[in-house]
Symmetry: C2
Subunit: 137 residues, 2 copies
């Protein structure tokens, strides 16, 4: 697991990961978070929605971002301060999502502001936002 201190981080540094969330992943997230929203769980209900299918929880998809911050950039020891998320498009089961975090500002030589995105296989932004973190000391 990587670990970068503030002096090793530059504007423009980035990291990416990928995952296709399965039905099992979504049901597990429902169980551990208590979020059994029908849009994620109930196949018949989902057919009546604008998305026509069940979709992955937004906060589960955003877990890919959290993973990059805590394991890659800055990595182990990172303290998560803020995360802003816009949910722009649905994420369907078994659709490979690519998450990316990119350093956009280093603040007071202490905090790092990153642009955080998730895209579907067509390159459509499904989540956009920013994260603010303290890198490990």
């Amino acid at each position: 697991m990587k670990s970068l201190t503030i002096n090793q981080i530059r504007v423009g540094d980035f990291a990416e990961n990928k995952k296709a969330f399965t039905k099992a992943d979504v049901f597990q997230f429902a169980e551990i978070s208590g979020d059994y929203n029908s849009a994620h769980i109930d196949e018949d209900y989902a057919k009546t929605t604008r998305f026509k299918e069940r979709i992955v929880h937004g906060l589960l998809t955003a877990g890919l971002i959290s993973s990059l911050l805590g394991m890659e950039l800055p990595g182990k020891g990172t303290l998560y301060l803020e995360q802003n998320l816009k949910f722009l498009a649905p994420v369907y089961f078994n659709q490979e999502i690519t998450a990316r975090v990119e350093v956009i500002e280093i603040i007071d030589n202490k905090k790092v502001l990153l642009k955080t995105t998730c895209r579907n296989p067509e390159g459509v932004l499904v989540i956009s936002g920013n994260a603010l973190v303290y890198p490990p000391r």
Copy 2:
């Protein structure tokens, strides 16, 4: 599962839920999100951190908020547009967290802005932020 349309929602409406996240919940979230950040997983490593113990993933705790929005207020059929999160204090394993969502603005008779918080048993804010949603039509 409740479901409120825009005309049934008033500023000041609120909903709450509670959960204590277990070690098993945290390990499951690591598995489904890929976020195996040592702060959540590695007991020996966690002892060396400022928090002294492993902590629950911020996005897993925030799942309580997502759950309230999709199941209670506005409820089934809610479309999640935005979620801003400030992670203000650590959440430890087996610590009962109370999440609350409260309507603070109804925008253009279409969207609902809610204040979203999570508190630990001492009443300390562990997460604060806002959510923007479309209620079911």
